[in-house]
Symmetry: C2
Subunit: 384 residues, 2 copies
């Protein structure tokens, strides 16, 4: 640990400050040489401006009007701070108990383009409010330990945002619950969890819209793709989408042959594989509802690969409205997620939640159906 060249002037500085030191004249006004190679501190500014460090603090923290300060000194201090390129040290601030202006974001899978977009939106919103983001990874289950570490080492942030279904990681959730700062879950489904606020999308509404659309086109043989099972239970958004699909099937009296509901990893490959399996069924569906755009686009690719025409032979719809949904071939009918609004709501909840009153908030936002080219009327030949 013999780094950081010992700076024996630390003490010297303090003593110098004690006596009036170099008068506030020329010498002091010359900045440029705070302390060699190190970021300037409030003390440096104080020395340079010929005031005490606490005065500097008051000025720089922009203490809400309550504390009156001589406009002259204030100006001098601000000027010095500017010249010396002073930046507050968030560590010290945090240690002192003040806010860190840091929000921890734990993403389940940032390679999932949807979540990447979500992080982007969150980052924008956080920045807008003067916060920065610290990104933790949940990855797959096996790396749970790492995510955990990320969380804990991250605990010097003002709040935590969970992006995606992280509930399958019990240790993580447990640790999170016992922290005492705000935790907000985004895209975790809409069922409340003890101790954490929720901002979710109305999956039921989205799937209902998709089903209405397909039924309106005459489809009766509709399959569903998607659903990562964890611990034998469906979780989060995808689980809700699947449940809604099943409800509709029952409610509208549709037939649901074996194999019409398929699990799949939420990847392009997962979607492709699922479609292949569906097409191998004796009784093929005429439409496929994929629980995410990734799955839908993978399915689209597989359909092309098998020489199937979409929507001629088969309609495929997704959920999320990724940027690439519009540029798929054919362009994808899907459900547009209100990402920006949800991100904003999440960040707001994280920041504002006083968390003294366990005031957990649950917000459900409505997505919107986007009809494009991948869905069409049921093929006449098949309409039996």
């Amino acid at each position: 640990m013999a780094e950081k060249p010992k700076r024996p002037f630390a003490n010297g500085r303090t003593e110098a400050a004690r006596k009036p030191a170099r008068t506030v004249g020329t010498a002091a006004k010359q900045p440029g040489m705070p302390r060699p190679g190190r970021v300037p501190t409030m003390q440096d500014i104080a020395d340079a401006a010929g005031v005490s460090q606490s005065t500097v603090s008051r000025v720089l923290t922009g203490a809400p009007n309550a504390i009156p300060i001589n406009p002259a000194t204030r100006e001098r201090i601000l000027e010095m701070a500017r010249m010396m390129r002073y930046r507050p040290n968030p560590l010290a601030r945090g240690l002192r108990g003040a806010k860190t202006m840091l929000i921890g974001v734990i993403v389940r899978e940032i390679t999932d383009p949807f979540f990447a977009g979500a992080v982007d939106a969150i980052s924008i919103e956080a920045n807008r409010r003067g916060y920065n983001i610290i990104l933790g990874h949940a990855h797959s289950r096996t790396e749970e330990a790492m995510a955990l570490r990320a969380v804990l080492e991250t605990r010097h942030c003002d709040a935590i945002l969970l992006v995606g279904d992280t509930r399958d990681q019990p240790r993580l959730m447990e640790e999170l619950r016992r922290t005492n700062f705000p935790v907000v879950g985004l895209w975790q489904g809409t069922t409340p969890m003890p101790g954490i606020s929720i901002v979710g999308v109305d999956n039921r509404w989205g799937i209902d819209g998709l089903m209405d659309h397909l039924l309106g086109l005459g489809h009766r043989k509709i399959a569903f793709v998607g659903g990562a099972f964890l611990e034998g239970r469906l979780i989060g958004d995808i689980g809700e989408r699947r449940a809604t699909f099943l409800d509709r099937v029952a409610q509208d009296g549709l037939r649901l042959p074996d194999g019409f509901v398929r699990d799949a990893q939420n990847t392009l490959a997962g979607g492709a594989g699922a479609l292949e399996a569906l097409m191998a069924l004796p009784d093929r569906p005429t439409a496929v509802v994929a629980s995410t755009d990734q799955l839908a686009i993978g399915a689209l690719h597989q359909a092309a690969h098998m020489g199937l025409s979409v929507p001629g032979d088969l309609s495929i719809v997704g959920f999320d409205d990724l940027p690439m949904a519009e540029y798929a071939t054919p362009s994808l009918t899907t459900v547009c997620m209100p990402i920006a609004q949800m991100a904003a709501a999440g960040v707001r909840a994280a920041i504002e939640e006083e968390h003294d009153g366990e005031a957990v908030i649950v917000q459900i936002l409505r997505p919107q159906i986007v009809i494009r080219a991948s869905s069409g009327p049921v093929p006449v030949a098949i309409r039996q």
Copy 2:
């Protein structure tokens, strides 16, 4: 700021610790009640174990063998720490001058799926080494100020990684240069910058491979898409790809009609627009080299939209090998970026760079051509 219930026992605790205090007997051994509602500190453990805070520190930091400690006390302390679920406070650690185990990552555009993947890889590698990641945003030029802030408030991290071409943001680069911790640029092109290490991909090699491939298929009318100009200069990876393309055109004596080299925003829409423009040319190209997969996939979509067969009428190739490249229709011939290796190299550079010796490293890694279905022989009808 009337949060954090005043804790008047702060002083009390200190004084209690001064005197031998509660004997190490039963009372002290009973943990569970460190300080109400607050995370336990080393002092708490010290009190509970009946030792001094510094001893606790020595044990818990796992002080490298150099400091011998009574196995009995060590055990007792570890036990206490475990029971009280002690976690070191990274803020205090950082403030003290130790490492933060935080790496700042500044991404130009995290919605760019390539960079999302890059962040993922970086995050994995950093975690593997016990570091966490703090994510800053460069966004577009107009939000430069925010990026700046992110950087500076971020400055309590051990190193900074730049992902993507951020050189068009002069203020950012300027600020970065004057920091005194390691800065490593990833995917910033391969030309060294003063004060920052570089880990880049061999763009020249990639484009050369693509050109060899297309020329081998008989193409002679090849167009190029991509190149965000900044300040009138091409920058970073895309600039290098374009330069290489132009070199090859000259070197191989290809004709390059007006309009064969197109600027485009690096988005799907940009690629689509560029292809549309290319196809409106009197003299159409038979092959298009897109400088990124996003552009290529956008172009693919536009081709389908215009009823063009790929690769029947037109070959399209990209660069990056995004996950979706394989699932495009048709699957995309492209250049596979060694993301994991580059991320690893970047993180390593960031962590290891002692930065005392201005030891700036430049590493260039080789990508690999991946031939898929979007490139084929030049159409006979056109081969004139």
